[in-house]
Symmetry: C2
DNA sequence: ACCTGAACACCGTTCAAGT
DNA sequence: ACCTGAACACCGTTCAAGT
């Protein structure tokens, strides 16, 4: 009469939903996530999710952000940069890139969502902010710092989304040597493909950083 | 009785379907493509498409392949490489990367499909084959040539899929300076964002090629 | 406040039927 | 051979109803 008994503990919460969605994405892929399937995994009915998120897409964005949040940014913290603000930007980028790649390869199925851009995801934005801040602190002019943030993003997300290993189908007949004389080995064991991706990532990252160091030194010489 | 009149000209063909699908993807995005909508644009009913393609996905793969097919590969042709097979691999990669990027930025909405890998798409495979062939001809060891193909793919597809311009939402309020001290300019005109992407692409590509040239020279010195 | 079932306007794909 | 309408098993999302 006067009032209902205190409502019992809610069945759902944003974190519970995001965890279940992440698990579903990891286990069965992005297309496997439907509001009904996700709700069933949580023991509720489909529309219940809309009490906690406005759209299904918002749920996936939250899953993506949780992955971004696991990327280590500690190498960009101020102490690493001396008063003159130049210390090891190269080493910091290298370590960060590897941490980023590791986070993505733990959850490859969500990468297409991450690739849509930081948008409004807090962790994605924090990440972009940290790189830009560290590069300017290290002496890069702002315009170049922006470019470095963007090009590292291209390379790292590209390595996850355009992975060599996932790019070739598991069927030898698809690569007729008459058509593609150099692709004889394109179809090879998954293990070997992971090695190709790892090697390509390290080779590319090193080349990228070497090339940037060249530009950095050239700019230093010019201003001296 | 004896036989039907010769069937009149079919309403549909694979090329007509691929063209209409490509136009729809360009105009309204990947999610806008449904078999019913596409069929309607072609003046037929939904299931008709299944007389020409096995699945909707096969149609999108064909659209993606048509984009790959527009990438210039002429710079990898044999004449560019002398008897010793070393000539301008750097210049060839640079020209190719730009041609690739141009093709992708003409049709950004199909890029996620392209990023799934060459798979069984002939033009995608031809492309991978050409790069690998040219790099080995230029003196790179096969393992490195494979890596170069992969890492260029990361960078180029990454630049299209993880574009800076498309990554930030068009809403100044999303980037509170209290949260992200360095992102004050993250929300800026679309025009300016395209410049950022272009600058980042060129800076990254140059760095990548400079870095690879360093590795190439180091290997040469070692074997001398 | 939070969850539910029913409903709406869609999907991709199959299939028997038509020509 | 190629196109059709009807049907199946799904979608994301809204909404009135329940507690």
């Amino acid at each position: 009469m006067w009032r209902m008994a205190r409502p019992r503990k809610p069945l759902l919460s944003r974190t519970r939903i995001v965890e279940a969605a992440g698990a579903l994405v990891d286990a069965e892929g992005l297309e496997a996530v439907s509001t009904r399937r996700l709700a069933a995994a949580l023991g509720v009915s489909g529309p219940s999710l809309y009490n906690h998120f406005r759209t299904k897409d918002e749920i996936l964005e939250a899953v993506a952000d949780a992955v971004s949040a696991r990327v280590d940014l500690s190498m960009f913290e101020a102490p690493a940069y001396g008063a003159e603000g130049v210390r090891d930007w190269r080493g910091a980028l290298h370590a960060w890139a590897h941490s980023y790649r590791d986070a993505l390869s733990d959850h490859p199925n969500i990468v297409p969502v991450l690739a849509r851009g930081p948008g409004r995801r807090p962790a994605g934005l924090r990440l972009a902010d940290a790189v830009f801040g560290a590069m300017t602190a290290a002496g890069w002019p702002p315009a170049q710092a922006t470019r470095i943030g963007a090009l590292m993003r291209y390379f790292i997300l590209g390595s996850a989304v355009a992975s060599f290993a996932r790019g070739f189908v598991d069927d030898e007949a698809a690569y007729d040597p008459a058509d593609y004389p150099h692709l004889g080995q394109a179809h090879l064991l998954a293990e070997r493909q992971r090695e190709v991706d790892q090697g390509a990532f390290e080779t590319g990252l090193t080349a990228l950083l070497d090339g940037l160091a060249l530009q950095y030194e050239a700019a230093r010489r010019e201003s001296a």
